[in-house]
Amino acid sequence: MAEAVLRVFRGDSENGETKDYKVPVEEGMVVLDALLYIQANYDGDLAVRWNCKAAKCGSCSTEINGIPKLSCKTRMDSLPRDEPITVYPIKAFPVIKDLVTDVKWNYQKQKEIPPFTPPEDEEMIMYQDDVERSQEFRKCIECFLCQNVCHILRDNNAKESFFGPRYLIKIAELDMHPLDTVDRSELLRNEAGVGFCNITKCCTEVCPENIRITDNAIIPLKERVVDKYFDPINWILSKLKED
């Protein structure tokens, strides 16, 4: 039977090293299967976070040969086997143990976004055309691969100044909703730091749900900020409309 060598990170944020494991490769096997094989046959204390094994819960985010991926969605036969396959925890968040990282910062950011606020006592018929755009963003499984790959959080650790792509799509989802009444442009420009994003699109490249994060959420949000803060023509037109 074909074999692969997995080079897996073992340790935490302070200390750690990689360890090689030989794993038999079966047809249709994914990297998560190989990790569970290691757990069952070599090291029972290997920490791996997973839940659905169907690319839907967003728990199993790792870095496979240096590329942020869901381990349950990465087939072993898609990886070259002439070198050991490296499996690391995601880099932008502190390691708790082995492949498990502490991602609570994300949930804290989520709380800072004003929730959906429809108008009081007003009924409106919702058309598919109006909600379709936001629906793309609702596919998010919160795997945080986009947060992890974004160089602003990963290399600069600018977690004080930037919410990251996952929460920019959350803001886009709410902002583009036809019934929402909250103006989040102040938050977007300041706390969420949409201006920090330099649209280099790595978030879009790694998203397992194929959400077009940059094109459909971040750039439109940047344009909305321009409407409000950098476009005098738009400002005059909107004032005239108000009058």
Binding site: F9, G11, S13, E14, N15, G16, E63, N65, G66, I67, P68, P80, E83, T86, Y88, K91, A92, F93, P94, V95, Y127, D129, D130, V149, H151, I152, R154, D155, N156, N157, A158, S161, D175, M176, H177, P178, D180, G193, G195, F196, C197, N198, I199, T200, K201, C202, E205, V206, D215, I219, P220, K222, E223, R224, V225, V226, D227, Y229, F230, D231
Partner: protein, 242 residues
């Protein structure tokens, strides 16, 4: 700046991630060098009835000491420079912020992206879109004029090249993110503005290929100019088809 001691590595990628930024530097760099040289050359831009897109519209005020192309090129130049796609391309390849995904680049602790001067000026992209659209109207006019040979209708290879060039430039403009926003993306209730919704859908479908239009229109404009220069210098003769 690593998050922790054990996460202190530049990249673990094993694929050839350097190729894309190197190719971008070569192509974009060559374009900038060629366009600058041609804009400053100030000759061989007219081979009747063809006018090079670098010099259109042709305005030649007496008080202007250098090439008239400079009076024009700031508009399409800044339109491209502030384009969301080219920003991605040069931030990655020239600035290394980041050079490729999951590869630590040259970002510094003081990184502020496009939130501070000078990069905050990227927000002016829509104004360069307006300016470049005016130039585009002149380029369409030039393309029509390219079928007029001394008052008679005719078709030369150059006529077709000029039409193709302005078509590609138009697709680039129509697929622009700012245009997509202004035409309808800024609305939250599409159902109350069906025309803008339809236009937004059209712009959105072109926008999916914005990168493609950005590259082919860049090649298109250079090759068009090169063709006119070759005809103007007598290196080749324009072939008349009709």
């Amino acid at each position: 700046m690593a998050i922790s001691a054990t996460q202190n590595y530049t990249t673990l990628r094993t694929d050839n991630w350097r190729v894309a930024p190197i190719i971008t530097v070569i192509i974009l760099g060559s374009f900038v060098i060629y366009a600058t040289w041609r804009a400053l050359e100030n000759q061989y831009y007219l081979a009747e009835p063809y006018l090079s897109p670098f010099y259109s519209p042709l305005i030649n005020p007496e008080w202007w000491p250098i090439s008239p192309a400079i009076l024009i090129l700031w508009a399409p130049g800044l339109f491209r420079f502030t384009c969301y796609y080219y920003r991605k391309a040069y931030y990655r390849s020239f600035a290394g912020m980041p050079p490729a995904c999951a590869v630590e680049g040259r970002s510094k602790e003081s990184y502020s992206g496009e939130s501070k001067f000078p990069l905050i000026l990227q927000n002016l992209h829509r104004f360069f879109f307006y300016a470049a659209s005016i130039v585009l109207i002149f380029l369409w006019y030039d393309a029509f004029k390219a079928f007029n040979f001394d008052g008679h209708y005719g078709v030369g290879v150059g006529s077709i090249i000029l039409v193709l060039n302005v078509f590609l430039l138009s697709m680039y403009s129509l697929s622009c993110h700012s245009f997509r926003h202004l035409i309808g993306g800024k609305l939250n209730v599409f159902s109350s503005c069906p025309t803008r919704f339809t236009l937004w859908k059209g712009a959105s479908s072109l926008n999916e290929r914005h990168m493609l239009w950005a590259w082919v229109s860049l090649f298109g404009v250079c090759l068009t100019d090169l063709y006119i220069r070759l005809v103007a210098t007598g290196v080749i003769t324009d072939m008349r088809l009709v």
